[in-house]
């Protein structure tokens, strides 16, 4: 803003501004102009009219603001409208996704659907439910979380608080590699190793092993980032008080970043909850209730959605069930998310911002 000094001094401290409602006026004008031009040029597609109107809006705003308020203000106004437009653009598909899921899912989504398994109901018939799949997903994701959270957290702590030298580099490298594992390859590894070589049976636990492989790198990476955000002053203050390092980590560093860590863990949980491929290979799928994750085949929600969709041809009972199960899966992840945010907010020390 060094050139501010060279510009002529404004006559009053308050610069000229566009009148308050001008944005709406310009919007209306550009919509009218847009449709007018669209009509005259014979553009059949209404989307083109909209685009034209949006373009006109930006141009008119810029010229009007430039004339009245100056170029810098004009640029600011354009930036504002561009950011509003990106927001609206992005919200459309996401809102449509939620809308479709709720609309289609609500058809068969009720207490019966949640409380019953598929049992012997054929895919082509109405009826049946997702109870077995919910149980399966809960247990598999729960086991995977129990296995990977301590491992992931400790590894991240090691990398941030202790890790120097070759071991830390090697761990970082392999964590990077593992973030790129396609989920089906992780499933394949567990299938070959756990089931074919070690001879264990298909089970929910086999599935959670593969899910852990997918989950750990995500947890390590996000926890690492969060721990790095903890100011060194806090660590130093604690150490200076004579608190041993491990207590410093457990009582100062981790609690300070617990909010971010929880968010990271939740993202990881959300990611594996929606995994289909490894579950398909390892858990096998089951239309009956099996509450024991260590023995026998289980079902899982994403697998259920996939199978119902694949057997449906885009309409009919199975298709409805696929959407209802999607709704349940989203709701499930949302509840988890809510809980985690609650915990994070409750546990985190107030940071002042």
């Amino acid at each position: 803003m060094s050139h501010a000094a060279t510009t002529p001094r404004p006559k009053s401290l308050k610069t000229a501004r566009l009148p308050r409602g001008s944005a709406w006026g310009i919007a209306l004008l550009s919509v009218l102009l847009g449709s007018g031009i669209g009509l005259l040029a014979g553009l059949g597609n209404k989307v083109q009219w909209g685009l034209l109107a949006a373009l006109l809006f930006v141009v008119i705003t810029y010229t009007a603001a430039a004339a009245v308020e100056g170029r810098r203000q004009a640029r600011d106004r354009v930036a504002t409208s561009v950011i509003w437009v990106t927001f609206v653009l992005a919200v459309i598909p996401l809102a449509s996704l939620l809308y479709e899921t709720v609309k289609r899912g609500a058809k068969v989504f009720d207490g019966y659907f949640l409380g019953h398994s598929m049992g012997v109901v054929a895919d082509t018939e109405p009826g049946g439910g997702i109870y077995h799949a919910i149980i399966g997903t809960l247990e598999q994701v729960g086991l995977a979380t129990v296995m990977s959270v301590p491992l992931g957290l400790l590894t991240a702590i090691y990398l941030v608080e202790y890790g120097r030298g070759r071991l830390a580099k090697a761990v970082t490298f392999f964590v990077d590699v593992m973030t790129g594992v396609p989920s089906i390859v992780a499933g394949l590894f567990v299938l070959s190793f756990w089931i074919l070589i070690l001879g264990f049976d298909f089970s929910g636990f086999a599935g959670s092993l593969a899910l852990s492989i997918l989950m750990i790198p995500v947890i390590v990476r996000s926890t690492e980032e969060m721990l790095k955000l903890v100011p060194n002053e806090l660590r130093e203050a604690s150490l200076a008080l004579g608190v041993p390092k491990w207590r410093t980590i457990l009582k100062v560093v981790v609690p300070t970043s617990i909010g971010g860590i929880t968010t990271g863990v939740m993202l990881a949980v959300a990611r594996i909850t929606g995994e289909t491929a490894p579950v398909l290979l390892l858990v096998w799928g089951n239309s009956f209730i099996n509450t024991n994750p260590f023995e026998g085949e289980q079902a899982s929600l994403p697998l259920y959605i996939y199978q119902q969709y694949a057997n449906s041809s885009g309409e009919g009972a199975a298709y409805d069930r696929a959407w209802a199960a999607s709704l349940a899966l989203i709701a499930f992840v949302m509840i988890l998310n809510l809980v985690a945010r609650g915990i994070a907010r409750w546990k985190a020390p107030q940071s002042g911002r």
Binding site: N45, V47, I83, W84, F87, A90, L154, D176, L229, Y306
Partner: protein, 334 residues
């Protein structure tokens, strides 16, 4: 507020340290430290072992079939991995994976940054809370649901866009449309963009929130407009954060399986036009070919999965390098 929480947590240590070691104090401290260091290093080593085992196992199985491959692994435009001898190559998959991810990034990153700015700097307070929360939750929508939605809603709605692109940009050759169903790499790119949008938005928003208020207030005090504040203080501060956010999104885009498999119309060719069906991605190819693959065919699919590893590694490495160079902006530890 700050002081009160500290006084909550600080006092407890001494009393609990003592019972651990009734004798002299210094060794007890060391013992606790040693145990904790052992634990965390142990889990690091365990992780390393697991991951090294996986990598070695996969590399071994890939090596088995690569030795038999009758085609050139890098340049063959074919996937007959079940045959004898097997003929397969990853050129098409690498192309498709990179192109669709690049399209996704080009669309998603600016939009996500825009939304993040909107939420942190533009939106009315009442609006930004709930919307931010909704976007958080969208990051958790499983990919299979995106796949269902893509087939049901996105693909039919893209006919218009494709026609428009073809009319006005068809001459470029890249956006030439032959009139097939809009299930090309371009569609996949759009779907992936929508899928990674929430993640990138989430992380960028967190970063923008960390921008010191003092910077922004200083800029405002100098008479900067809101956009100038963003351009001069918010974006430079958040650059490394945006990059990590994008990398997170890119990671998801590269490895996405089910959504791509349901939307793409794959074929083992590379087309000059992005709008024509064809191509494929690593993860999609594995999912489509896996169920009917022989053991040898599975090995070939694993080999292609390893290439995805390498690509991810390169991307991660690049991101780390960029972030390291920009370290001066990440104010947390400074």
């Amino acid at each position: 507020m700050d002081i009160s929480t500290k006084s909550d947590t600080a006092p407890p240590p001494p009393p609990t340290v003592v019972p651990l070691e009734p004798g002299s104090r210094r060794p007890s401290v060391r013992l606790g430290d040693r145990i904790f260091l052992g634990l965390s290093r142990g889990s690091g080593i365990l992780l390393l072992l697991i991951m090294a085992a996986i990598a070695c196992f996969l590399a071994y199985r890939a090596a088995l079939v690569l030795a038999k491959n009758d085609g050139n692994f890098l340049t063959t435009f074919e996937w007959e991995a079940n045959g004898d001898p097997p003929v397969f190559g990853i050129a098409v998959l690498a192309f498709g994976t990179v192109v669709s991810s690049v399209i996704a990034m080009v669309i998603a990153v600016p939009v996500a940054v825009g939304i993040a700015l909107f939420l942190t700097h533009y939106a009315p307070r009442k609006l930004s809370g709930p919307i931010g929360y909704a976007i958080d939750l969208l990051a958790a929508v499983p990919s299979i649901v995106y796949g269902l939605w893509g087939v049901l809603v996105l693909v039919p709605h893209l006919n218009g866009l494709y026609g428009w692109l073809d009319t006005y940009f068809g001459w470029t050759g890249i956006l030439d449309w032959q009139g097939g169903a809009p299930r090309s790499l371009f569609t996949v790119g759009i779907l992936l963009a929508i899928m990674i949008l929430p993640i990138v938005t989430n992380v960028s928003r967190e970063v923008f929130r960390q921008v010191p208020l003092a910077h922004q207030e200083a800029a405002l005090a100098l008479g900067a407009t809101r956009w100038e504040v963003i351009r001069m203080s918010v974006l430079p501060f958040g650059r490394s954060g945006i990059i990590s956010a994008s990398m997170l999104g890119l990671g998801r885009a590269l490895g996405e399986t089910m959504a791509v498999a349901t939307v793409l119309s794959p074929e083992f060719v590379i087309r000059t036009s992005l709008l024509d069906p064809g191509g494929g991605t690593f993860a999609q190819n594995i999912a489509s070919k896996f169920s009917e693959a022989t053991v040898q065919g599975q090995d070939a699919l694993i080999a292609s999965g390893l290439v995805l590893f390498v690509i991810t590694l390169l991307v991660n490495g690049a991101a780390r390098a960029i972030i390291a160079r920009r370290k001066e902006y990440s104010g947390a530890n400074a």
